[in-house]
Amino acid sequence: MGYPHPPHPRETVVLSQYFGDADARTYKGWVKRGGYQALKQALAMDPAAVTEEVKASGLRGRGGAGFPTGLKWTFMPREKKRPHYLCVNADESEPGTFKDREIMRWTPHALLEGTAIAAYAIRAEVAYIYIRGEFTEPYRIMERALSEANAAGVFGTLRVHLHRGAGAYICGEETALMNSIEGKRGNPRIKPPFPAAAGLFGLPTTINNVETIAAVPHILTRGAAWYKGLCLSNPKSTGTKLFSVCGTVARPGNYEVTMGFPLKDLLYDLCGGMPSGRTLKAVIPGGSSVPILDREEAERTLLDYEGCVEQGTMLGSGGVIVFDDSADMVYQIMRLARFYAHESCAQCTQCREGTAWTTRILERILAGQGKPADLDLLLDLADNMTGKTICVLSDSCAAPVVSGIRKFRSEFEDYLSGKTKPRVAA
């Protein structure tokens, strides 16, 4: 099995250097490629110094929120009175996102090494890697890599557990993930308390995304300054980022570029542009939970945390979903809403009932049974669903609805007026 595409010259290959190289999956192969040097280096340092280095690199969370990683680590109690935990979020379930899967498939030891370093920095005795249930192949690869690493004794006293999810999207939410590890229903918890105060099993916990953790060894071996220097636009967004591009591009796949890379170039240059005769219509740049960009916005967007916010969206997980001019945006948005209605954990009223209601309204619009007031109803419902719940699943359902109606209102109106032929919302 080879990796789908050779690196494009404009990619900055750091995390994806060994994607497609099966030998890098083995412990021996990883060591041969310089693996576990960063861990040795870290263990020779003070844990606080490791954190400082990560802080200085400007690394920010790659799971979606973009919180500065080093700063997050400093939230762990300074005085260690109780056991500390590290959780690695490998529950990559965000529609349109498939970067962590590749990291685990090709470079499992990069993740394990980063895990060991992070655990050392936050003085954790136990680390959990929570892998999405559907990721059977990555799980097998990680399992093998873990047993090799354990046999080689790389973790010292640290215990690393792989924990398989059971198929719920919401378990990728950090506190739901902790509940899931604890054997409880994967419901997000109210914050505060934040995980650093009371996380897994009520103990101080740090949780990081796979891609974040996998970047840590590189920061140690090549230095924070090098990492910080990987920046094409805003200095607050540093390093490289994997973008999972899917939808109507010639070459979908994972692309690793430096922060601040233009989205336009990613789509037209790296991914080979739209299918012939088609033009770009819309892009969801950060996984299904972020607002949709229309063509003009997308072509202006620089891919970093600030660049996306500037265009009214978010970098999110880096799952880039591309729509060409043949896309039916009403249908696409209904599909997104239906996903959230299916995955709502059912705790908060707005999310439990609101995601389902949103889906039904969109379905009836598609079926030609929409009412003139439906768009205002959807927007008002979205307002009731935004910023009012425990986690952001409800907001994530509302975001594409609001941005979709704002940017593609005529498509909705054509369904309402009968100009567009009704379709079965399958």
């Binding site: 719920a168 919401i170 229903r185 109210i190 209605a341 299916h342 995955e343 709502s344 954990c345 059912a346 705790q347 908060c348 009223t349 707005q350 439990r352 009932e353 609101g354 995601t355 389902a356 209601w357 039904r360 007031a373 109803l377 419902l381 307002d383 009731n384 910023g387 009012k388 719940t389 425990i390």
Partner: protein, 520 residues
Amino acid sequence: MAEPAPVNLTIDGVPVRVPPGTLVIEAAKQAGVLVPHYCYHPGLPVAGVCRMCLVAVEKAPKLQIACATTVAEGMVVHTQAPDARKARTGVLELLLINHPLDCPICDQAGECELQDFVFQEGQPATRYAEYAKRFNPVEDFGPDVLYVPNRCILCTRCVRFMEDVASEPVLNVSERGDRAFVGIHPEARLDHPWSGNVVDLCPVGSLLSKDFLHKARAWELDKTPSVCTGCSQGCSVTLDVRDQTVVRVRPRPNLAVNRYFICDHGRSHYRWMNGGDRIEAPLVRRDRELRAVDWDEALDRARGIIAGAGGAAVALVSPGASTEALFLARRLLSRFAWTGAYQVVKGEEAPLPGVPGLALRADRAPNVRGAELLGYSRDYDAALRAAVGAGVVLVLDDPTAPVRTDGALIYLGTVLPDDAGVRGASVVLPLANVAEEDGTFVNCDGRVQRYSQAKPAPGMARPAWWVLGELAADGTEPAPASAAEAFARFANATEGAAGLTYAALGLSGRVLGSGAVVPA
């Protein structure tokens, strides 16, 4: 340890001062504001899921839920801010999407928090309109609990009660999204001895008591504060009475005893209060038969018997009698060499793990401690032996007493005794039961608590404190004119209780000193 400094905040313009750590929703109560809520319950861990109690807090970036926000110095809360109102109206609209409007046949109607808050803050019509509502059939959860999933708003109070308070997590939230419902473990029943509380906790008519099913509409009920008679724990309860019949017993919050809960034994232990087998007139023995007479004649006869009796006196009392009655019975026989005893039905203990010190107690009577305080003994057999040769035997509402005596027998009770021995009484005086009189019980922890009259006594039956007070009245001290006065006399004769009054007992009672009663 010094008290931590209180926190000052403002809620809807009203300044309040509360201990640090108080939740905004509780602080709001002090400001006279009830923030609408469903999942929050002071007796349960905070879930923060219904999102009904959203309020605006100045300087906070978005609306906060009052049930999970802790007060802070200088905090300014606006419960009626337009965005908070809109958010709550939105939640109500969403809750009503799948809630059937079957209030006319719902037991909860009239005491339903969904009705109340929709009336208060909801909108007149839904925009959800034409879709069918979620449907799931009614489930039989346990001996006394039905689950009507269609009405469920998934506040999870029941789930949290079973998990965190009863420590028997047989309920969960099953499924996700709008398909969710409260599920029960496939091999379990909701039969924990305290599981009936889920019915009270349910803010809507989703969890119903089979016992109360379709018995009454909430607005037909008269509610009276009382004390549970099921065991010596003495949980505070409310008696719900319809047409002079007790139809339901519910917990009455008392943080010092039962918090917000009662056990299923106590909940179901009320039918006897409505029994039709009551003595309705005083009876005196004439020509070997008990004949109905008026109170004056019956009291005269009883006084005469006691005045004329020599030798010893024995009192066989019910540990379910009021403290006032037990005290006055003791006082009545104070000139005799005296033996007093009670018998108590025993049962299995059933603690509620989430509330330390709260249990269904083995002694299944409410005033065992009161009887002990007043010198009545548990050695019932010794009292029965003493009764044989006693000059006078007083039986206080103990219809099963197998008493044999050569002396005179006076029986005071609610129902006619089963035992031939007691049926041989010279005088039978009809008493009101616990639902028909005012009085107090002393619980197993020495807490004396009031209960109040919830319905009239049948026929000529009178409260025991009145009957015994009349019998004991002599020239020096008139009979007490009220239960309160009878209690004051008891208190003044009790070490550590002097000066204690009904008013001072309030709704949650007071712990008596450990001192024994000084019989005067």
